[in-house]
Amino acid sequence: MKTNVLRLCIASALIATTSAAGERPKGPDRYAITGARIVTGSGQVIEQGTLVLEHGLITAVGASVEVPDGVWVIDGSGKVVYPGLVDALSDIALEKSEASGDAPFSRGPLDRPGTTSWAAAADALVLDDDRVEAWRNAGFTSTVSSPSTGIVSGQAAFLNLAGERDEDLVVATPVALRVNFEPNANRSFPGSLMGVLAYIRQVFADASHYRVSQTAYAREPRGKRRPRYDRALAPLAEAQVDGWPVLMPGHWEHEIERAVRLGREIGVRPVVYGLHEGHRAAEFLASENVAVLVSLKWPEADEDRDPEAEEPLRVLRMREQAPKTPAALAKAGVMFGFYSDGLESPKEIFASLRKAIDRGLTHESALHALTLGPATIFGVDDRLGSLEAGKIANVIVADGALFDEDTRIETVFVDGAKYEIRKSTDEGGSP
């Protein structure tokens, strides 16, 4: 990822606006939170500490930090300070895409069905998404937002959830390529799971070949047939060479294994998302050194189902044990992040998290999966994900332990801009 040209933006935090509210007045640029319990997210917990943030970055954090002159001091006694949380996969702040029913008819792999690998989330942002504020009010300072339709949907971007203009949100792009195993609905190729997987294999092979032939042609075109122009292939080739995480779906154990094996075969770094049966694949994932994204939308029975229909035990087991997956992954040493998977509010997200904690996930591991875990997976751990000097000032101040039910998030900093969370807001405040 480091060899790519990254669009690293330090948000102009001075005039940060909320998405739907009115204009905000210009606030201070330098803060110090003193006397608070600081959970750095990188292993260290400071019982009584100070955190200084200036011009969008954390400049100091520790037990005996001197408060610089002229900073706005926030009394942190009785509060707990955490790194801002990351929703590891969403479509927040993304333009809505057209219905897939209008997809063009595809006659075979060369028609590149469902492939929009060039589509970057960073280029299709809309600030006017209620979720930006709603998520931020609950302590989510970032998300990885990605197009999600078709087979190779496009390029995900790591976003901070605050900004005045669309571009202000982008911390890094591209951070991942998203792949779905979705057959075409219009009865053209590929119409089956088998066809989708075969297509993925072919298109990534074509990408390698593209790279080789473009390079050779650029070096010396004479005597060679000119390579076909194919805009779908360059991003795939980059993903192969630069080791982008390629997000591939898998819920059941055999699906998870399938995604990893396919990823290896096509020469990319697979990151599996879904993971309902992840607890059964934990050892496999650990031995393969594969990171995953765990859906917080725990599987549930269909509401309008036959109440007396006998569901397979396999499904009941999976449903009962799914919240155990995070603890099992943590125990096996698998790197993972959490994502909201369409949950409608942070309230639901936290309720989901508490289920995982009930089933054995430690608070520490839970926090990791919401901060440094996803930051590492998406290659931005050198600048985000924990409270360390030099990192981006994405900070949250809570009135108690983060995952306790009655804890309130009081203040959120995104790129160093402060957001006070009003008690009256339904969506925000209480996790």
């Binding site: 189902r305 036959d306 229909a309 006998e310 397979p312 035990l313």
Partner: protein
């Protein structure tokens, strides 16, 4: 091809017909399993005018009788397929050849026999494996399934598997009214698109209740019609009135336990005689079925379990479980092309616990009793029709061969399309 067939049968029939009328046929030397007492070793059957005249160990053979030597062989009543589609379908995927199910949900006035194709290749094929007579019923869907769409599909007919015309074949034109009960299951097979469909429960429930209410309305209308002295003829109600008046049983096809239970309740409320068809989950309601004396014409023994976790052999043990609980179990193929495999459905049930004689009666005596023709069919007894098979062993066992077959006392050819093609191509050099 069909012309050759017709000629072959012509020859056999013309010859045999003459002797059946005037002469006598004697089957001698075989072990006779009468199903009306102990088997008779080395017994004799005398057939006169198509009927069994005498059966016994020491029966004299009249002079001039045509003798069929059954030494070393066994004689059984001809097998009866209690629900088949014989004559109603030729090639299931070719609609022009299929006459199983009409359009519309309520067609009690239709009768299977009116559409039976006497020259169907399936008939000699079934016959060659020992099926001598069968009930053919409307409502099937073709393909490999047992069931069919919802509705009252018409009346089933009992036919002998021999005869120039349906009139000659018919034993009883109407033996029961076929009703495919609506289902509360959300996962069903959609026959129009030929794929499995998953529906919302609330929608299914609503449609289910609507349909039951409609059925009740139809029954009420039929009851009213039956009671009226002066009325305009309504063919549908006239047909349904036969059920209301107890003349015809209602043959209700249902698989899910809830559907079965509701159907039983319906039959009771309506005061009609019910026969359960297919009954995949009948074993779950065995106590109820036994208590209410509802016989079951069981769907294929050789089918997959209902759910992922159901015992792998549930469909195989269902027959014995029902029989042990006191339910009358009868077997059927629900098919045309596979009618010939009926004895092996039974064989599999016997392998998993059903007593052998119960199994055999399930495709001979019991269906005859069920449809009110046991005075004519179902066992080897004096006065009954001579529908008989002579085999080289247990008819439920796969390798057993049918050596001779008689329908109405006429030795009937075992020749069929398959045998013909076999012999023709065997001769190719």
């Amino acid at each position: 091809m069909i012309l050759t067939r017709t000629l072959t049968i012509l020859v056999l029939f013309s010859g045999a017909a003459a002797s059946a009328q005037d002469d006598v046929i004697a089957i001698t030397g075989g072990k006779i399993v009468t199903l009306a007492g102990e088997p008779i070793e080395n017994g004799t059957i005398i057939i006169r005018n198509g009927r069994i005249a005498e059966v016994g160990a020491n029966v004299a053979v009249p002079a001039g009788a045509e003798v069929i030597d059954a030494s070393g062989l066994e004689v059984y009543p001809g097998m009866m397929d209690a629900v088949s589609r014989l004559g109603l379908t030729e090639i299931s995927s070719t609609a022009a050849t299929v006459d199983m199910t009409e359009l519309g949900d309520y067609n009690p006035q239709l009768t299977a026999a009116t559409a039976v194709h006497p020259s169907s290749e399936h008939i000699p094929v079934a016959r060659a494996n020992g099926i001598t007579h069968a009930v053919t019923a409307p409502g099937g869907s073709g393909g490999f399934g047992v069931g069919g769409p919802y509705g009252i599909h018409g009346q089933a007919s009992l036919i002998n598997l021999a005869g120039w015309t349906v009139e000659e074949m018919a034993v009883k034109m109407s033996v029961g009214m076929v009703l495919h009960w609506p289902t509360i299951q959300t996962s069903t097979f959609d026959f129009s698109t030929f794929s499995r469909v998953e529906k919302k429960f609330s929608e299914v429930k609503e449609q289910y209740e609507d349909r039951v209410a409609e059925l009740e309305d139809w029954m009420d209308a039929a009851r009213r019609y039956a009671g009226e002295s002066e009325k305009e003829t309504d063919l549908k109600l006239e047909a349904l009135a036969k059920v209301v008046e107890g003349e015809l049983p209602m043959m209700i096809m249902a698989d899910d336990a809830r559907d079965i239970k509701r159907a039983v309740q319906f039959a009771e409320e309506q005061g009609i005689k019910m026969i359960l068809l297919s009954g995949r989950d009948a074993w779950k309601e065995k106590a109820l079925l036994a208590e209410k004396n509802i016989p079951v014409i069981l769907g294929p023994t050789l089918r997959l379990p209902r759910t992922e976790d159901e015992a792998y052999d549930k469909p195989l043990t269902a027959a014995s479980e029902l029989q042990a609980a006191g339910v009358r179990v009868i077997f059927a193929s629900f098919s045309s092309a596979n009618s010939r495999l009926l004895p092996y459905e039974v064989g599999n049930a016997v392998a998993r616990g059903l007593p052998w004689e119960e199994g055999l009666k399930g495709i001979t005596l019991y269906p005859a009793e069920l449809f009110g023709v046991s005075d004519e069919l179902g066992s080897i007894e004096e006065g009954k029709r001579a529908n008989l098979i002579i085999t080289d062993g247990d008819p439920l066992e796969i390798r057993t061969e049918i050596k001779h077959l008689l329908i109405d006392g006429v030795p009937t050819s075992l020749d069929n399309r398959h045998l013909e093609l076999y012999e023709k191509y065997r001769a190719r050099q």
